[in-house]
Symmetry: C2
Subunit: 473 residues, 2 copies
């Protein structure tokens, strides 16, 4: 009897687990091992802010699947086990368990899903301060436990959050829900820089409505521990120096790909140091696939970029898992679709903003329009405007992107999905009106808000095409 | 100076007004006249149940646009004016105003948007009973006012609603909100027959949870007025006769196209007596366009059918308005996307059910799967399952349709839009997983519920394709 095919996935987060699940689903004869550095395989990192806020009552609820669920699929999960060396020619992976014991595992195919690690910005004093002093990064379950210990032990009344991206904003809400007065500091001119500042300003206002102090265009230069144990955050803004002395500091300014293991084995690195893969998620090393936050991202509009997202990691992992069995699946590409809830607002985007479309260097002349249609018919109670910014190419009329901000009751996250689905298929802004979308007065309009927004774009930027066609008739 | 081009639209509902708006938008030099039989141009017929329920406090709020809004576009609206005769060769329309005065209007292009009228089913006694006796149809604003008068004057405590389609269900909710005990009677085996009975049963249960008595598989045979003024509704069920004596009866069993005006002028009629049009909304009569509930429907999957919907009327009217100016716009076709809210449930569908796909006679072998994924991550408060039924072609794997029922918090109406957008572009069920949809734990999952449902279909009906591909590799 031949030995069963051996698949090893490195990493217990979205990419590694997705690859393992797909392989088990497609071929139960393949033996699948997942090597997980900590004891939290298949945890929802995106859920951490809701555990910190108290909305998720026990950390174990953050597991997408329990250890028993994973075992039931037939995969083997090695927790508290660090992958230390890939030998591509020998097709072996060296791992070390919690006791320090090393073991060499053979593989037929390997999926690297080592993810990303927090960026530690060059702020004076930050290298000397850590969890013991109430200064935290937040990316892993381990980080989460130290944050929770710190919140319990220090019982902070005030906090500074450095960074106003997705996790920074969610943590501003989470800490506010715990009764902590939060100051949020962002180096860029507006919070949530992934959307245009016109929309970011709505999020900014929502933070302030919920008593978060928001400092934008403000660069943190130093964090100092006072003799009392308090932490002073010093920052520069408009040439002035300002400071806040607080009980707790959270640094969430982004992540970088974790590629050392693969790079040491000879994996080619590309944009922002991420691992280069083809659309089948193959690295340059034989039978070594990679997926998730550690790899560069095929973007349907931008080409190759680096855009780490859990949704993308799931898709890439699934493709890697199928191809590790000898398949030929392809990752169809990202559109950078993202959504975040901040207090009672939801902000979402898909595709490109103007500047990104120019930078894509594909000849687009991007123009944008903003509309504020109601989420449903105004006569039915609860109607609320959604701010929708549409970006399209002035020449071809092709839809390039959409950004939305609205109340959490306004179904913003699924409306961005309608745009994402249309974008996926390469529609024009004008043709978006042809889509047969649903309507009932409590939930929409005969032209859905998404279509009102694209019609606004056409009216402002493309209506002359129709008029010219009529005149030529 | 040449005379301005004259466009006349007949009908003040979605199709006529959309045509008029589009014409004014594209060519302000065209003179546009809209002939409206009643005094309620551009009213939202779909909103009537919410006026009856009391959620819309004044009937005038049901106007999509006020008379002043319409006048501001530069169109002329002739209210209380009946179109009595089209003379296609002379290019004239005869109209009669409220005083009985006739007038002959010349047109360069005409758009017929005469809509639909209520079906009066062959129930014994129904022809002798009307609003004065508390027996009502409900399709127009005029019907609405008589219903409201009747509710005020009769102050009914009990009602029978004959029919459990969209408006019947909405009215069950509306009358219940007014404190009326409702019995809903449906001739078919389950309520909301536009979805499969497995999903209709969820709506059925929601009605009962809200104290509506639901009688399915029950055919009303007679309505009788008692000497007291009460109304006895007699019905047959399983060979038994049953009856309910109530204060108020609403008959909402469907509509039929209103085509007499066009037919008398020689317009060709087709499926279910609706006006035949091409994809540019042209009838067989020169320079006569038609749109909305009075015309047959180009359906992207079914070919030609009759499927009256407000969303479709808006799109067709817009195409007709552009082409009436000499344009060459095309109606891209319907997918039958629909949604209805019933108490705290939302039910939606797009595309085809199994039986419809077989009847389409395009060689499909439809198979369906039902999944019940949560609307968002279970660890975040408020997660609720959505029942999603996916239909696809077993041979090609092409997506044919989706039906969804879930809590009104579950963003069902925009999730059906994601399916509708994918269907519009002819995707496969498997490729639906490639869509880059949004995710944040309070609002979704890394694989959105819509993708969990399509993955369930693939697992049940199509996974062998992937396995075979692997074996052949």
């Amino acid at each position: 009897m031949p030995t069963a095919r051996q698949l090893i996935a490195i990493g217990g987060s979205d990419a590694g687990i997705s690859a393992a699940l797909r392989a088990r689903e497609l071929d139960p004869a393949t033996e699948v091992t997942v090597v997980v550095a900590d004891n939290y395989p298949n945890f929802s990192i995106c859920g951490i802010p809701y555990y910190v806020s108290g909305e998720v009552t026990h950390w174990s609820n953050l597991a997408h699947r329990t250890a028993a669920d994973l075992a039931a699929t037939g995969m083997r999960v090695l927790t508290d086990t660090t992958a230390t060396r890939i030998d591509p020619s020998a097709h072996t992976l060296t791992v070390r368990d919690a006791s320090g014991t090393e073991q060499v595992l053979s593989y037929d195919a390997l999926v690297v899903g080592t993810g990303a690690t927090s960026v530690r910005p060059p702020i004076t004093g930050l290298d000397r301060l850590g969890a013991a002093e109430g200064v935290h990064l937040l990316h892993s379950m381990g980080d989460t436990f130290t944050v929770m210990d710190s919140l319990r032990d220090r019982d902070p009344k005030t906090a500074v959050i450095i960074g106003a991206g997705y996790i920074g904003l969610e943590m501003a809400e989470g800490l506010t829900m715990r009764g902590i007065q939060v100051t949020q500091i962002e180096a860029l001119p507006e919070v949530l820089p992934t959307v245009d500042s016109e929309l970011g300003a709505l999020v900014h206002a929502e933070l302030e409505r919920n008593k978060v102090e928001v400092l934008t265009d403000t660069l943190v230069t130093a964090v100092t521990r006072e003799p009392s144990g308090a932490l002073t955050v010093t920052a520069a803004r408009d040439g002035e120096t300002l400071s806040r002395t607080v009980d707790f500091v959270l640094v969430v300014v982004g992540v970088k790909p974790d590629v050392a293991l693969a790079a040491n084995a000879g994996a080619e690195l590309g944009v922002k140091g991420s691992i280069v893969v083809d659309e089948q998620m193959r690295t340059n090393l034989p039978d070594v696939f990679a997926a998730g936050d550690c790899v560069h991202t095929h973007h349907r509009l931008l080409g190759t970029t680096w855009l780490p997202l859990g949704t993308t990691a799931h898709k890439q992992g699934r493709v890697a898992g199928e191809n590790a069995l000898g398949g030929s699946a392809r990752f169809a590409g990202s559109l950078g679709t993202q959504v975040v809830k901040i207090f009672d607002l939801v902000a979402a985007r898909t595709g490109l903003k103007d500047g990104e479309a120019v930078a894509a260097d594909r000849g687009w002349v991007p123009v944008s329009s903003t509309a504020t249609p109601d989420d449903h018919k105004a006569y039915y109670p609860g109607a609320t405007p959604i701010t929708i910014r549409i970006t399209g190419d002035q020449q071809s009329g092709v839809l390039l992107g959409a950004q939305l901000v609205g109340h959490r009751s306004a179904e913003v996250s699924k409306r961005v999905d309608t745009y994402a689905t249309a974008l996926f298929h390469g529609t024009t802004v004008d043709a978006f009106s042809e889509l047969d979308l649903s309507y009932t007065p409590p939930l929409g309009s005969p032209w859905d808000a998404t279509q009102v927004a694209t019609q606004t774009w056409v009216r402002e930027h493309h209506l002359d095409r129709h008029r010219t066609a009529l005149r030529q008739h």
